[in-house]
């Protein structure tokens, strides 16, 4: 069934329909109706544990169809599944004791971080419940449980958490042959062990791999982010901060006239390097800014300064803005600085010109 979908390239509607019908195979999946016998216990995804009662034939719309009758153990509800559909609804055997042990080791293991994007999380959880087997159900419970420690679950997810917990409890209860309340105690004993108890955990089984974009996106994105953060903190910013600081100090030490020129140039430089900082790699930024460091000598103590990186660049413009006024007081610079002010007043002039017009209208009224 899965292969058929993979070979053809169906349209949107077809794909949507097949998504509902086709289910990736999980461990113990029943591939054909011939695998079922009366008395077998099977798990119907998102429904619970059923016991196969037998085969039945029924006349429906003039056709004679064969069905498998199953009864839910929990409440006795019965379901008729057409023989042809048995392979596509994701029926599977009740998990074995080994599988269940793996589930407990998974539940007891530490959980890195829950998925925070609710759309991705919802899609993953639904997929896991349908196709992930007992471990998939455990993943949903564990994921939502750890999310609930960060913030209360929204109503829909609270329901999903409760229903997936219900499914897990029932399957564990059936697989281990213990009452449901005891099975739930086992689950919570693994999820939140009492104070002072150390669980004898083994390596948990690998989570079920599901098809779909979220799984492919997750890990690489996380890895890149971490790398970027680490690199930026280590190399690039250090140089940038120190270099910038040195540049400013040097400029201040220089003569005023030179300083004016330098500031003018510096202001141009500032505008250029700032945007460059984020995108370029370590290679471009460090060399020019590492050079000024040794001049000061003292800065080596500024190793922790990386934290200030972000702030200094933002502050740079401020000090230069302060420097800008002094040159403005001098005779020479005003001419140079005249252009910027000239640009500013221009819009102001335009505005006042319009203002008088408005009051005039008002007066007319």
């Amino acid at each position: 069934m899965v292969t058929v979908g993979a070979v053809r390239t169906p349209g949107k509607r077809e794909r949507a329909e097949k998504k509902e019908e086709e289910v990736p195979s999980a461990g113990g999946t029943i591939a054909a109706s011939s695998d079922l016998k009366a008395g077998d216990r099977v798990v119907y995804p998102k429904q619970g544990v059923y016991r196969v009662t037998g085969l039945e034939q029924k006349d429906i719309a003039g056709q004679r169809l064969e069905f498998v009758r199953m009864t839910r153990e929990e409440d006795g509800a019965s379901v008729l599944v057409p023989l042809g559909k048995v392979a596509t609804i994701g029926l599977r055997r009740v998990a074995s004791a080994d599988d269940i042990e793996g589930v407990f080791h998974y539940l007891g293991a530490s959980y890195d971080d829950p998925e925070l994007d609710w759309k991705v999380r919802h899609r993953d959880n639904v997929e896991r419940l349908i196709a992930g087997g007992v471990l998939g159900v455990a993943e949903v419970v564990k994921g939502l449980h750890s999310l609930s420690r960060l913030r209360p679950l929204p109503a829909k997810e609270r329901e999903l958490y409760d229903s997936s917990r219900h499914l897990l409890v029932n399957e564990i209860s059936v697989a281990l042959g213990v009452p449901a309340v005891i099975a739930e105690d086992y689950i919570d004993y693994a999820l939140m062990p009492p104070a002072g108890v150390k669980l004898p955990l083994k390596t948990p089984p690998t989570p079920v791999e599901l098809k779909g974009p979220p799984w492919k996106r997750k890990k690489p994105v996380a890895a890149e982010d971490e790398d970027d953060l680490g690199l930026a903190e280590l190399g690039i910013d250090l140089g940038a901060i120190e270099g910038a600081a040195v540049g400013e100090s040097e400029e201040s030490e220089e003569g005023e006239a030179e300083g004016e020129k330098a500031s003018a140039e510096g202001s141009e430089e500032e505008a250029v390097p700032l945007p460059k900082v984020p995108p370029p790699a370590r290679a471009a930024m460090p060399p020019p800014r590492v050079a000024p460091l040794p001049k000061k000598g003292a800065p080596p103590a500024k190793a922790p300064a990386p934290v200030k990186k972000a702030a200094p660049p933002a502050k740079k413009p401020a000090p230069r803005a302060k420097k800008a006024p002094p040159p403005a007081k001098k005779p020479a610079p005003p001419a140079k600085k005249a252009p910027p002010p000239a640009k500013k007043p221009a819009p102001k002039k335009a505005a006042p010109a319009k203002k008088p017009a408005r009051p005039a209208k008002g007066k007319k009224k």
Binding site: R158, D185, Y186, Y189, P194
Partner: protein, 181 residues
């Protein structure tokens, strides 16, 4: 109707407080059905009592459809060992069933001061609400302020709340409304 059966001597004041609290929590009449003898068959060699067996062997009480029976005891209970160990037993219940068992063995001593008695009563009420919740098919809740939070959870305060959270209360009310009687 919730029927309370004591398998050990309990203070009348405590039982009175419990009846009022259960009535307020579930909106169902609650009464003390009387004292019964503790079934000794469920005792294990180590002196503890098998929770499952004790509940099975508990003396029957006259009850009607949808009645819930809660047995109170003060003996130490034991749960069957699971894959990761034996979870501490504060009681036992038949999920969606009719009978539950609560033990006060792990409670803080009742003491004689008003404060300690209050804490004891609140804890008794909480555990009874918890196991009656299982009888209404409720599962454990992640919220430590809810009575359905596991009794041994490290995030549970010393004097925990003895009420259900909104989700569990809604669910239990739905179940009670759908009950046959």
């Amino acid at each position: 109707m919730i029927r309370i059966v004591t398998l050990a001597p309990f203070d009348e004041g405590d039982i009175g407080f419990l009846c009022k609290t259960l009535y307020r929590s579930f909106g169902i009449g609650t009464e003390h059905q009387g004292d019964r003898a503790l079934p000794r068959k469920a005792e294990l060699p180590d002196g503890r009592f098998d929770a499952l067996k004790l509940l099975d062997d508990a003396p029957p009480v006259r009850a009607y459809a949808d009645d819930k029976v809660v047995y109170l005891t003060d003996v130490e209970l034991a749960n069957p060992k699971g894959p990761l160990g034996e979870p501490p037993a504060w009681g036992h219940a038949l999920q969606g069933g009719e009978r539950a068992l609560v033990s006060t063995f792990r409670f803080k001593p009742r003491g004689v001061t008003e404060a300690s008695i209050e804490v004891y009563r609140r804890r008794l009420a909480r555990e009874c609400i918890h196991f009656i919740g299982h009888l209404w098919d409720l599962h454990h809740c992640y919220d430590a302020r809810c009575a359905m939070h596991p009794s041994w959870s490290p995030s549970l305060p010393d004097d925990p709340e003895f009420e259900l959270d909104a989700f569990c209360r809604d669910k239990s009310e739905r179940r009670i409304r759908l009950a046959k009687t």
